[in-house]
């Protein structure tokens, strides 16, 4: 049977900067308060939203050759919450993301330990991240993270991420 959407918690299609992310997260908090979801689930949704949105903002290609805008949604299904995002990434970023997500998907049992190691040895990059966001997303996810890259041109791909919480 196909999964049926019960409830759209948040849906956004457009450019992302820090102020827009703040507004989206405030909206999200309001919407989550209206739901019957447990505190733990609400916190995991919020955390996944923050890390996903911040990653999109930080890793937006400096020189964009395409005009495709980011997409972000959180939807409630019968069997869980699905956070989905799509955004343009550089080919270089594509390789890093692919490697990182595959690594997380292959180590779902040990993520706590790996996260602790990464945290101890991490540095905050110029973009302001520590490369830890995807690990948090992995910890929040209840299934493997699914993703896809669609070729835009020689420089860029359209990256889509689907996380079930």
């Amino acid at each position: 049977m196909r999964e049926s959407t019960q409830n759209i918690i948040l849906k956004y299609n457009g450019k992302l900067d820090y102020d827009i992310i703040n507004e989206l997260l405030e909206d999200l908090n309001r919407r989550l308060e209206e739901t019957e979801l447990s505190t733990l689930l609400r916190k995991r949704i919020y955390s996944t939203a923050v890390e996903t949105l911040e990653n999109i903002m930080r890793h937006a290609p400096k020189k964009k050759t395409s005009n495709t805008l980011p997409q972000f949604s959180i939807q409630e299904y019968n069997d869980g919450i699905i956070v989905e995002s799509c955004n343009v990434v550089s080919k270089k970023q594509q390789d890093i993301l692919k490697e990182r997500i595959d690594y997380i998907n292959n180590n779902t049992e040990n993520l706590k330990k790996i996260f602790a190691e990464k945290l101890k040895n991490s540095n905050i990059s110029v973009e302001g991240g520590a490369g830890l966001g995807v690990f948090i997303i992995g910890k929040n996810a209840k299934e493997k993270i699914s993703y896809s890259f669609e070729n835009i041109n020689e420089e860029e791909s359209y990256f889509c991420l689907k996380i079930k919480i």
């Binding site: 703040n22 916190k43 911040e54 996260f115 101890k120 302001g128 830890l132």
Partner: protein, 135 residues
Amino acid sequence: MDKINIEETKATPSVILDVDNRKFEIAGCSRPENVREFYMPVINWFESVLEKTDEVKAKLSGDGTVNFDFKLSYFNSASAKFILDILLYINQLHSSGIDIKINWYYEEGDEDMRDVGEELAEMVDFEFKYIMMRE
């Protein structure tokens, strides 16, 4: 002594580091736009305090254990790095003979916040007291 008193916003926590009033607390949500810029004054405060631990010890002694309260509702992955650094500094203060303990608050039902507290405690080799907050 120099103190830190940062007010809480929707995306940044309140930070109180006040030796004279024996109050040490980080509370709220932590996902600053520029995490390094936000936490740098806090890191600098610890660096300067660790240079004069005798003075700090004298001010804090004789009135029981000093509590350092973490009342974070949420912190993002970039903030985690700085929270770990702060915990390491607290551990250094403890090692220098200051009777300080860490209270790690979490909301009822937020087991992840408690778990991450336990992970951090293990990483810095310092025992926390866990306190559940009911709504």
